[in-house]
Symmetry: C2
Subunit: 263 residues, 2 copies
């Protein structure tokens, strides 16, 4: 019995199961293990860590990827991970990869990202998890660099594992292979979206709004994901779901008068 | 000119603008400043940090709270905060409060919570922000303790501010005023939901699933929000949106072989 058991790799995303990004990811992961796909049946971008509580979920087996067990689901990316673990794999896969997202999930975008939420959900469930995102929105974009980075990073995670309760956020710059500099371990840059709503009037005379905005990076550090990406590197940020701001606990204990009257 | 300018307090939630929780919060905040309400027109629970990208948003002025400028919005809690800042207040309020949520947002629930995401969005925009949640789902529940805690905590935040890029997550235990022990500053407990999907067959013979689950606390620490809440305390957890797992950076740098071939 010298045959090695292949690792089980769950693939999901938030652009939907028909996007070029998930296809590229499935094809690369097939070299590394037995792939199972559970992904949304339609685009879910901007869904954050949404879960479906008030509606029933549907899940359907589909034949989209040669020799790969695949399901499309009516829910969010987080629902897909939960369903995959509970109903399809019936246990923990060795790795969960989410993406490749068509568009950046660097710095503060991690908060709004369905791609990263799927990976985070897997991590909460004790599964090594990676989110991949490409700094190019176009469905026609060349994914060659993304494929290379995804396979390389997934190989390292399968080999080394990840620290407990840590997942990784991988972003890939929009550069040609010849301008690509390599991969950098980074921290999340301090950045935000400055919103401007585009106000319009509908044919019946009523106002409506489109969310638009400008991404602003306030962070001049050279150890951030934004710096790496703008200098031709792919970025890896280790991400945690313990959101406690431990450094703020003494401030609150020292300044807030909370229990005087309740003694 | 001895008249003090009242602080501006933005109130939002994820249960929708007609829930008893937001009414209680509006009534308490009116004692502390000029209140503006921008909240979803329907329940948004489990929406995480979702934003509305692919649909236009509607916002309508409503008369629900006496002498309080109020709007209902078709979007998510995060959309409400963005719209309030950009279109209604046209600048930063002095405080943003979200809730009072009908149901717990302690420990890992912070990740799935629309209530906390609204507060987090405000904090990303540089506004002091608080999420309030009550460990009782019932719309008929007595909110007296919630009111007391909300007013007390909001008063302290208006007086002392919060550390930069930190918001607070306040959960209120489901106990009578006489069993209430006070307020504790805590860290987020290590806990998760163990999913079980309830599988059913629809009238046309097709499978569908309801998300259900059991909350499991793995954390025996006495400094956690779960400990506080189960011992009759309200919990305050300071929360950050820099998700970088800084402690994992050396592990990745030491173990991952990422750049050998790209040199």
């Amino acid at each position: 019995m010298s045959k090695k058991i292949k690792p089980v790799i769950l693939v999901t995303n938030d652009d939907g199961i028909t996007s070029p990004g998930i296809r590229a990811l499935v094809e690369e992961m097939r070299h590394l293990g037995r792939v199972v796909v559970v992904a949304p049946d339609s685009p879910q971008s901007g869904m954050g860590h949404a879960i479906t509580i008030d509606d029933p979920l549907r899940m359907e087996k589909v034949e989209l990827f040669e020799d790969v067990e695949s399901y499309q689901c009516t829910g969010t990316p987080v629902d897909c991970v939960k369903l995959a673990v509970d109903k399809i794999i019936k246990g923990k896969p060795d790795l969960c990869v989410s993406g490749i997202n068509h568009g950046s999930n660097s710095s503060i975008n991690v908060i709004y990202s369905g791609t990263m939420s799927a990976a985070m959900e897997a991590s909460i469930e004790g599964i090594n998890a990676i989110g991949f995102s490409f700094l190019n929105y176009g469905y026609e974009a060349d994914l060659a660099l993304c494929r290379k980075v995804a396979r390389q990073v997934a190989t390292e995670v399968l080999k080394n594992g990840l620290p407990k309760n840590v997942l990784i956020n991988v972003n890939i710059p929009n550069v040609s292979l010849s301008h690509y500099k390599g991969i950098k371990i980074c921290r999340q840059a301090v950045a935000k979206w400055e919103e401007e709503f585009n106000e319009r009037i509908d044919p019946r005379g009523k106002k409506y709004y489109w969310l638009t905005g400008k991404f602003v990076n306030y962070d001049h550090g050279e150890d951030t994901d934004e710096w790496a990406l703008s200098h031709g590197f792919a970025s890896i940020v280790p991400v945690q779901f313990d959101l406690t701001a431990h450094h703020a606990i003494p401030f609150l204990n020292n300044n807030f008068k909370l229990n005087e009257e309740s003694k």
